[in-house]
Symmetry: C2
Subunit: 900 residues, 2 copies
């Protein structure tokens, strides 16, 4: 039989028009049914209206020409195949109508069963099946589903009727209602529909069918579905398919029933069939929860043949689709029908275990395994999570999910308070809640389990530090006000005090009052370790870590970092034993005094570098020269003013003089826009002695550890380069310093010099300094700031609006803006490679830990990305996925293998 339909695809024992690869046209359900038919797996026959029809309907407001005829022809075929006729009064064909988008989404109309039943053929159905009760039960189900889904009658209206009747008959379960009772329910349902819609229930079965189809299309447009698509980055115009399938009746008695299952445990990933079965029931009964289904394994006792067949079939499905399956089935009088199969949704833990197991079983390759796990799953596994299994309480505030994981602890409103509250050994969990954090708060952040800030964006200080530390962080939480003086935290109208319990869900940005249960991080997940090891092995592009301290370097090294891509030397300057020397250096009124202060810092910096080199030997360590504006190392103006007042009061002349000098310096260093101020390599040019100290420390450290047998590989990075002459001038200074240091020791050390590209000008003019450097590293945070003119600390005020209004498709501080910033990076890389083919190119901004950005960088041909140690596993997996898949497939949502 030739089939020329453009819109309608059949599946059934004797004719299959589609196959499993046609998800876009047939939806997941339709494609799965077609594929199962091809595999000779028993499915009730049916037909699928393609997504093309839906798109056409949504665009033009009516069904495409010719559909009606095609549908009629397909129905005739179905009637022939199934041996029943639609609207036949003796032996009516009943069908289910289901939506089936390529990517399933909640909120879409799901299922209407028993379409085709009416008052006229009810008797026929009853006779045919030898049970009026069965026919009435099927009819009331149709009325109930059609009424609520297609006609928008509130569900409660139907529930009231059933509840009233059950009360009257004094029964508790739906299945115990008498035949007479069912009849009266059917009658009352008719009246409910007429009352609520002003029209009778459509007895015309063709009208039932066409209304059901249209309802599916309409549901594409409802708010919940749109919201879900936006959230999961699914195109708005993909449409949905409609699958119309002959009914298999699970409600035909005790040798019938309906069930759902997974080929592997979706929570743990264990290889065991998992699911539920409900006898004498139709699909929606399992979901409704009015009766308790039995575990699927018990079928082995109650229906051993069915169970065996089910095991065989689902085993074949898993082998065929090469992935764990989530299936639905119906048993009609002992006969098994599969209704649906699809890739099983799974927890993060399960995704990892299944992927690794399937490689061991020989089912998939390692490359495939790497694409089976979402990068976000890694974060879920490796950080604590709030245990919502007992329910989700109402959030008291919503902020930006700046760093994933969860934290439950007592509130501290300042860094000092956090240190006190945490206890000597950090035994008490503390949440640091502040307006914002600054570099001064590091000691408090180090002891806290999570941070909550009223201000700041995704790359504010708190967010960056949190991700670096792998701690949970929520920033820019609106409606929060921290009054440090009063020791209160106001969230909405509620006042919290220091010491009160608070729970943070860093993955969603929700803040909860009180102490919620916490599920600990799975730090020892052998399968995950295996998967990550494969990731590193299978990637040609390296993943390094940003690490400022030997401790961070150790974490990075254990996690398989292929070097340090960014060591921010200034973070070492904030340590309490160094800050006084840093301040003397800044307050020095002449070069000699400044050099003296630097001489004191030298051995400390050298020690830091020694530890880093030892830890990472023989991997490269990129050390960035001092970057932040100097005022960051001084106390704030208000702080000094307050101290000055005290000193005036005490008539302490020496202190007054000291503080007045400090105040003048603080004022002189104050900048209108510090982000574009006196920082980066500008410091090295105006204060070359700082650079000389740092380079000396780096090289002396390298010499020392080399003596101990380590292999140091220092890379010296010049930050905030704007023009070629800067790097030329500083390269000369670095080389001169190195010559002096190495000559003194009569030895040599390989070191390389590179530039950090974080200003648009450096990107545009990269060709002009390509021959001056051995490597460059893109500082994508600052580059994003300057390219957009978005200060990351301030942008939150409008960025939220921008994202809500769709002016920006995503936060450019989280995922790289390919169109603008990306073009600059691409331009720079092109120039660099032409002028210096041997140049090494890296990325060390926050984007180096973002999967979508990693795929983009990989496509540009970078040699490495570098991210915070906590994000290493995610970056490693993302890099491996980028290697395995072309750019667009590794976009943030992996539609097929998404976790629950």
């Amino acid at each position: 039989m030739s089939w020329n339909s453009r819109y309608v695809y059949r599946f059934g024992s004797h004719a299959v028009d589609g196959n499993g690869s046609m998800r876009d046209e047939l939806g997941g359900k339709g494609a799965g049914l077609a594929e199962m038919t091809l595999l000779s797996i028993p499915v009730p026959p049916g037909l699928t209206i393609s997504t093309t029809v839906c798109r056409s309907y949504l665009e033009q407001g009516n069904m495409p020409l010719g559909l009606k005829e095609e549908l009629a022809a397909a129905l005739r075929w179905l009637e022939g195949t199934h041996g029943r006729k639609f609207n036949d009064e003796q032996n009516p064909l009943l069908v289910s109508v289901r939506s089936g988008a390529a990517v399933s989404m909640p909120g879409m109309m799901d299922t209407i069963l028993n379409v085709g039943l009416n008052e006229r053929n009810l008797e026929g159905l009853a006779k045919q099946n030898g049970s009026l009760r069965f026919a009435l039960d099927s009819y009331r189900r149709l009325l109930q589903m059609f009424g609520s889904v297609v006609l928008d009658v509130p569900k409660k209206q139907f529930d009231f009727v059933i509840e009233a009747l059950k009360e009257e008959e004094e029964v508790t379960a739906d299945s115990e209602v008498s035949e007479r009772g069912l009849r009266s329910i059917v009658d009352e349902f008719h009246q409910v529909i007429r009352r609520c819609t002003g029209k009778p229930f459509p007895e015309d079965v063709h009208l039932q069918l066409s209304m059901a189809i249209e309802a599916v299309f309409q549901s594409c447009r409802n708010e919940r579905a749109q919201h879900y698509r936006r959230l999961h980055d699914i195109a708005d115009d993909a449409g949905t398919a409609v699958t119309i399938q002959a009914m298999a009746f699970g409600n035909r008695g005790l040798d019938s029933g309906t069930g759902v299952g997974f080929t592997r445990n979706p929570s743990t990933g264990a290889k065991e069939m998992f699911g539920e079965f409900l006898a004498n029931a139709q699909g929606e009964d399992i979901v409704a929860g009015t009766r308790t289904p039995m575990p699927i394994a018990e079928l082995a006792q109650s229906m051993p043949e069915v169970y065996e067949e089910l095991c065989t079939i689902t085993g074949r499905l898993e082998q065929h689709f090469r992935d764990a399956q989530d299936f639905e089935f119906t048993v009609e009088n002992g006969r098994l029908f599969l209704l649906q199969t699809r890739s099983a949704k799974r927890s993060a833990t399960a995704a990892v275990r299944m992927a690794v197991d399937m490689v061991k079983e020989g089912l998939i390759t390692k490359h495939e395994a790497l694409t089976r796990v979402k990068t976000s799953s890694i974060g879920e596994i490796l950080s604590p999570q709030i245990d919502f299994s007992l329910g989700v309480p109402e959030a008291i505030a919503q902020g930006l999910p700046a760093s994933p994981g969860a934290a439950v602890g007592r509130i501290a409103l300042s860094a000092d308070e956090a240190v006190d509250a945490a206890g000597k050994h950090g035994e008490n969990p503390v949440i640091l809640a502040t307006q914002e954090t600054t570099a001064d708060d590091i000691h408090g952040m180090a002891v806290a389990v999570g941070f909550l800030t009223a201000q700041g964006g995704a790359t504010s200080h708190a967010a960056v530090i949190a991700r670096g530390m792998g701690k949970c962080c929520i920033t820019g939480a609106r409606g929060i006000f921290v009054n440090e003086a009063k020791g209160t935290l106001r969230i909405g109208d509620t006042i919290f005090h220091a010491g009160d319990w608070l729970s943070l869900d860093g993955s969603t940005g929700r803040v909860f009052a009180g102490k919620l249960p916490l599920r600990a991080a799975e730090t020892n997940n052998a399968e995950l370790d295996t998967l990550l090891a494969w990731s590193v092995d299978l990637s040609s592009t390296a993943v390094r870590a940003n690490a400022d301290t030997p401790q961070e370097a150790a974490v990075a090294q254990r996690a398989g970092a292929q070097g340090i891509g960014l060591c921010r030397t200034e973070h070492m300057f904030f340590a309490s034993d160094r800050l006084p020397h840093v301040r003397s250096m800044i307050l020095a009124s002449n070069v000699d005094d400044r050099k003296k202060a630097l001489d004191n810092l030298l051995p400390m910096q050298q020690e830091d570098f020694e530890a880093l080199f030892r830890q990472m030997s023989p991997l490269p360590v990129t050390i960035r020269l001092l970057d932040p504006p100097l005022h960051e190392f001084l106390p704030g103006r208000e702080e000094v003013n307050a101290e000055l007042k005290l000193a005036y009061g005490k008539n302490d002349a020496q202190k007054v003089e000291e503080l007045e000098t400090l105040l003048l310096r603080v004022q002189a260093l104050t900048e209108a826009n510090p982000m574009m101020g006196h920082r980066g390599c500008r410091l090295s040019i105006t204060y070359p002695e700082i650079l000389v100290m740092q380079v000396t420390a780096i090289l002396q450290a390298a010499l020392r550890v080399e003596e101990e047998g380590f292999v140091p590989a220092p890379e010296i990075m010049v930050p905030l380069v704007a023009c070629a002459e800067e790097i030329r001038c500083l390269r000369r200074l670095i080389d001169e310093t190195a010559t002096t240091v190495l000559a003194k020791h009569g030895r040599s050390i390989d070191y390389s010099i590179g530039a950090m590209i974080e200003l648009p000008r450096a990107a545009v003019c990269a060709g002009t300094f390509a021959d001056q450097v051995s490597f460059v590293s893109f500082g994508t945070n600052d580059l994003t700031q300057m390219t957009f003119g978005f200060s990351r600390d301030d942008a939150r005020k409008y960025l939220d609006s921008y994202l809500e209004q769709g002016i920006l498709p995503f936060d450019p501080f989280v995922t790289i803006d390919q169109e603008g910033v990306g073009t600059l990076i691409e331009t720079a890389i092109r120039q660099l490679k032409i002028k210096n083919p041997k140049i090494k190119i890296g990325v060390c901004g926050e984007h180096g830990g973002d999967p979508a950005s990693i795929a983009f960088f990989k496509s540009l041909g970078v040699d490495y990305v570098s991210c915070s140690p906590a994000r290493l596993p995610i970056a490693q997996l993302a890099m491996a996925q980028a290697e395995a898949a072309p750019l667009d497939e590794s976009a943030p949502t992996n539609k097929v293998y998404s976790a629950v």
Copy 2:
């Protein structure tokens, strides 16, 4: 006689190897002498060693091979032509040796006369000229010049000898010294040279010559010459030529003499010969100033034939070179010799007058006239200048010359103080001296004659406003500290008080104590008006003005602006009758309250726009929507805190509440980097009601003035665009608003919508919104800030170092950075023109008034530049020059026609 020399060029009655166009090879002097010879103007014969020799000498440290032979041959030729022999004891040939770079510069060795004289041929010279006195005078001149210039003997050593002898002989003038006295001077000069150098004076005439040549080359390298070259952007390796010329003796008696002159008055430009003559003297006597020369016109009496010949010859020179000439001449026993001719340096006023006169005389074309005036001359003419004719006092501070002109006035240390001190009618000149200025200081700036700030760069607030107002301004003056509280201004160690006199030279950035004499601006210079009218007529690219008020627009319109390229609406918001409404708008806690405040602002904005449209009709007026961050309209945090303290003290509950609300809002609006904060079109997106008010005001104003018979041409500009979606969204909002307003009036108005490109992303992605706009305007200030990551308010701290160290060749806020920022602009323009060929492209940053930048913009094909009204004349001339000359010739320094 064939001449194959590579290095030596002859000039003389029978042989000329070069001509006037060979400045680069022969230097200005050598080329001029060659050309004069070609014109049959009497010059003593001579030869020029080309600049190639100098370059070779400076690079390799010795003279090129073959030079010696060529020089010997040339000398033989000279001896033949002149009839005297070098080192001939009876009739010696004496020569002058002079340097001659293509561009003359101070500090280079100038002249050594009488080379070739020694003890052996002294007698011969005396006999030949019948005067031992003359010979001795010539010899002591040689010893003196050779000693000081070539041998580096301090000049004073020679002066002491002469002074001692004049005392002994009881005479006052050099010329009165006796023959015996001259002999003893010569002897003592010999001893001075031997004492100071350890060697005798070289009696070998060939050695004299080669040492003199080498001294010329060496002088290329001295510090003063290097500094001058750097200052005037002259290449360091151009080298100098050396001209060796037979002596014509002006010291041969009273029918001899030497003189210098101009064909036109170099101060006023009047067409009259101008210069000085000194009888019985050699060239250096005029410069030395020991005798008073006579005005050149008096030659008409004393040497009528010489005078007539001089007039004829210099007239011919002017006609030939088609420019005013600066010439030197010598009369030897009644015979006139020209020694040099070159384009005359001239004052700004003279340059303009000469250019216009010469067009009227038919000597040059209008196009040529436009290239004869430096753009900086315009500023000199149009702004007051300190009159340094009585001497230049020592500057007490040096700042950045942020806006040219000069100001002399009494110090005011705050805007309010300035208003008080200026008097009701602004009758007292006031200089506003502050740490920095902010938008709050506008009222004080309006009454001051000049601004001095301790901080800020070339495009700081004070600088921008000053240039806009056409007032003198010095910013970032180091070592200045303003103590507003104490009412003192400390400059170095000197304390000034409010009311003390101060003088500012805005063209150089120098600050002087006290009241220096001021030369007023020439506001009625008819020749300048003519020249500028030609500029506008001859330019195909328009020059518009940036104007925020009807007053500024009027100035612009009178100055020939071809439209308003930028009207910053926010400047209207600062007026005292508006600020309260602006603040209510900002403090509004909901949209309705905000709309109410905006309703109050609407009629005021409308009035402003009406006045602008009337003034400029029918020229286009580009109105930029609100741009600055809102906190700029609120008082500072410290100010509110101070008021709050007062209110607490008074127990004024209502005031306290009001101020507490204000404080919260101020805090909420405070930004870490306001330049990259919530501003520009981000405001319109988050507060669309502000845009609606502004667009309504623009269109209602246009409707109103159209009724009056004017032709309004509003262009609505969206500032700080980063992505296409912003402009798409705001364009929709503007069009909707316009539709509403126009429908209400049942009329239509042509308006256009454009984007301001001031973020790197907008430049990179310009193609994505090209079809959404009718025009774009490059905001080059902000674009420069973001591209370099240089905050213009903070950059001074390192920018000075950068310029000093040569890391940047110029201040990118003054002259556009072609390599980086320019590349972005070029990229954007290319995309824009491809996607929207009809698009209009403008530039409205500060660079729109900078001549070098204008030439660059013109080369990129922009349709207009826009600058502050005060800079219009400069921009008009620069644009005309860019039209007339290719890009590199219109660079900042016009070497040939530079003003004095």
